[in-house]
């Protein structure tokens, strides 16, 4: 019985039952009742919203500029670290988190604008391969800049006092902050859709995505549009970072941790589609939340599996446009 790196403990009866074939009826009558399922649903929704914030940024950049920004996770990390600094700076003020919520994404979007202007512009007409390689190299550059300013220690951003409470739903109490995250996600989704469908700029964005030359010929500054779109994406990434900061520990590996899941979400939803990003984020979040109930060790593999299936069968994603 001497353990050599493997576990040999008796597993609980609950997980034993799940090892074998569980019929749907059995699953429903298990210890899980509606309130617990609802709890899983809310936690999945929370995760989904953060993923959506990230994925929407990635997807609009691809949709308009046909560039995949590997370094999108760096904006997320930068947003979180800026939130840290801002909350530290205004440590005595009770509304410091709200200041961070507004200022940090703005700063990140400025950095994004700089990156676009100095670097990305030069590669729009280059091979896709080189574009991806550039943004991949950018991860290291931005990551080390963050290391330079903030050092290697793990950082913590405290929860804003106003959101520290709990709400009770169906017998389970949830942190108020979860609903804040969900609310932000919904707000951003609505705003993005509003911008894209109703505003003039949104129309220009969609037009540049379809026919860049045409838009240029009509006299619009497409380069400027690209810069603004990239700044929007950076803003979204930074916002995701700020929003998630009070719930996690900030570390220098944050950018790498999140970027793969973002890619998967964007692909499942369809590159270029915001509705797709939202749908895919919801699916991913809930798949993970319920996945850990069913086959808890391999929840992540469901997501990889789903992304693989989508890439193979329907590369345009669930809501994306067919081949370009």
């Amino acid at each position: 019985m001497k353990r050599r790196g493997g576990r040999s403990l008796p597993r609980s009866t609950y997980t034993n039952r799940l090892q074998g074939n569980v019929t749907w009826a059995e699953y429903c009558t298990m210890e899980l009742d509606f309130s617990n399922l609802f709890a899983q649903f809310i936690s999945g929704l929370c995760r989904a919203m953060v993923l959506f914030l990230m994925a929407s940024g990635l997807t609009i950049v691809f949709g308009v500029m046909r560039v995949v920004n590997f370094a999108h996770g760096s904006f997320y990390m930068l947003g979180a670290y800026l939130a840290y600094s801002l909350t530290q700076f205004y440590a005595s003020s009770p509304s410091r988190f709200w200041v961070a919520l507004i200022v940090a994404p703005t700063l990140v979007s400025l950095v994004g604008g700089l990156v676009e202007y100095v670097l990305l512009r030069r590669i729009y007409d280059k091979d896709h391969l080189l574009q991806i390689l550039l943004t991949y190299a950018l991860i290291f550059v931005l990551g080390d800049f963050i290391k330079m300013f903030w050092g290697v220690d793990l950082r913590i951003v405290s929860m804003p006092a106003a959101l520290e409470g709990f709400i009770t739903f169906f017998g389970n109490s949830f942190p108020l902050y979860y609903f804040f995250i969900i609310a932000i996600g919904v707000l951003v989704a609505l705003s993005l859709l509003f911008i894209l469908k109703i505003t003039r700029f949104g129309k220009l964005m969609r037009a540049s995505a379809e026919h860049r030359e045409m838009v240029e010929m009509l006299g619009y500054n497409v380069r400027g549009i690209f810069t603004v779109v990239f700044m929007m994406a950076a803003w979204l990434g930074g916002l995701a970072g700020v929003v998630i900061a009070p719930t996690v520990r900030l570390s220098l590996g944050m950018d790498m941790e999140i970027i793969i899941e973002c890619f998967l979400v964007v692909i499942i939803g369809g590159l270029g589609s915001i509705w797709g990003a939202l749908l895919a984020a919801l699916i991913t979040g809930e798949l993970y939340a319920f996945g850990i109930l069913v086959l808890e060790k391999y929840a992540m593999t469901f997501i990889y599996g789903l992304a693989a299936v989508i890439i193979i069968l329907r590369p345009a994603g669930l809501l994306g446009k067919q081949a370009h």
């Binding site: 609980s12 617990n36 220690d153």
Partner: protein, 419 residues
């Protein structure tokens, strides 16, 4: 634009050429022959929160040793290398230190896989490797050998101590929430073994194993609640512990269940968590800066704080994982060198086996059969206590190591079956 491009091209090529030339030129060390200790560890990531204090703990002892004349005039010099938490980097650095720098001793690491890999190299090259943070029990257990020494606790001791402490508590139905990697499984397994040994009536109602570097634990926390345990045991590595404790506090886990968080009592966590440090939670550590309230402990804390202040990074509360372990390891090594009256590997090994040092928490012996230091463990309920800057254990309970360590026979048996 063309000229700029040309200039950039030339600059890049020149820069690369210069760096390449410099890379191949070894740099000669111009000094009288010091005793070199090669320390490999992760100084650049989240682990730096432990490795830097550990290094400070080492340096404190080494500086004192050197100031007192060193060993027959020879001073000890610590060469550090960053393995970025990757075992193959650790191996590369170990080779560099052994082959190029010709170090006398190796020290490190935090990553257990790195420690195991370097340990194997140390065995081949017949050099002592003093482990100061890595916790896998295999290092001094099944994969141990005569050249490896560990001056810090291992997962077996820590888990078992937690289990022994938990057995004294009235909780019967347990849920285990662990980080899905070797260390997490190890401290959970050993905890469960220790707990069931002392109290066979306990029952595990569920377990959940989020992956390493998970950002969002909420689905696991909600699943945990559904299981309705009496108590929860959290088996996380240091970096993950900060994340899970933060989210648990937000989630209000401590109000729902008694939580036993392995390692949480170490001062590094309240420092890192700040306001997010939970209270009303059970935690353990291998060292508490406030207990025992002995003169030795107080003196150690004082000199450590002064030392780090001089170094520019004041660390007011020495941690167990980092500072204390580094201190103990350095003490073991320096006292062994003096006792052996030499730096030769075989002599120092003999001196280290069975060596007892005076640590701030009492005497700690380096067990001769497996080269594992018999480090005590402290457990208790972490509460907000008047006069302390952050939540601490109100009434710590000490579990001495020799009560819970596997016997020498068991260790030798496991090493034999490993071969």
């Amino acid at each position: 634009m063309g000229k700029l491009k040309e200039a950039m091209k030339c600059a890049t090529l020149l820069g690369l050429a210069v760096t390449l030339v410099l890379a191949v030129t070894p740099i000669s060390v111009m000094a009288e022959k010091p005793i070199k200790v090669g320390m490999i560890d992760c100084f650049s990531g989240g682990a730096a929160a432990f490795t830097k204090p550990a290094l400070a703990g080492w340096k404190m002892v080494i500086d004192e040793f050197n100031a007192a004349g060193g060993f027959k005039g020879r001073k000890i010099e610590i060469l550090t290398r960053d393995d970025k938490f990757k075992p193959d980097e650790a191996l590369t650095h170990a080779r560099e230190l052994l082959l190029k720098e010709d170090v006398d001793f190796l020290a490190g690491t935090t990553n257990s896989a790195s420690a195991l890999a370097v340990s194997e190299l140390a065995r081949q090259k017949k050099k002592i490797f003093m482990v100061h943070i890595a916790r896998s029990e295999k290092i001094t257990g099944a994969k141990g050998h005569e050249y490896i020494f560990r001056g810090c606790p291992n997962a077996e001791i820590e888990g078992a101590a937690g289990g022994a402490y938990a057995a004294a508590q009235p909780y019967k139905k347990w849920f285990i929430l662990g980080e899905d990697y070797e260390y997490g499984h190890s401290i959970a397994d050993n905890f469960w073994k220790g707990l069931t040994k002392n109290d066979p009536t306990v029952e595990k109602v569920g377990e959940a194993w989020p992956k390493l570097q998970e950002t969002d634990y909420t689905p696991y926390l909600t699943a945990l609640v559904a299981k309705k345990p009496d108590a929860v045991y959290v088996a996380f590595g240091a970096s993950g512990l900060i994340a899970i404790m933060k989210q648990s506090k937000i989630f209000g886990l401590m109000e729902k269940f008694p939580v036993f968080a392995f390692g949480l009592a170490d001062s590094v966590f309240p420092k890192a968590l700040g306001e997010s440090m939970p209270s009303d939670v059970f935690g353990g550590s291998n060292y508490l800066w406030y207990f025992p309230e002995s003169t030795e402990n107080k003196a150690f804390v004082k000199s450590y704080v002064e030392f780090t202040e001089k170094g520019g990074a004041k660390d007011p509360y020495p941690s167990g994982i980092g500072a204390f372990s580094g201190y103990c390891c350095a003490k073991f090594l320096t006292e062994a060198i003096m006792k052996a009256d030499g730096v030769e590997t075989e002599k120092v090994i003999k001196a280290l086996e069975g060596l007892t040092i005076d640590s701030p928490v009492g005497k700690i012996k380096m067990r001769a059969c497996d080269h594992q230091a018999e480090t005590p463990a402290f457990w208790g309920k972490i509460l907000k206590v008047e006069g302390y800057p952050f939540p601490v254990i109100k009434e710590p309970i000490v579990t001495p190591a020799d009560k819970i360590m596997p016997t020498c026979d068991e260790i030798m048996q496991s090493r034999k079956s490993e071969k």
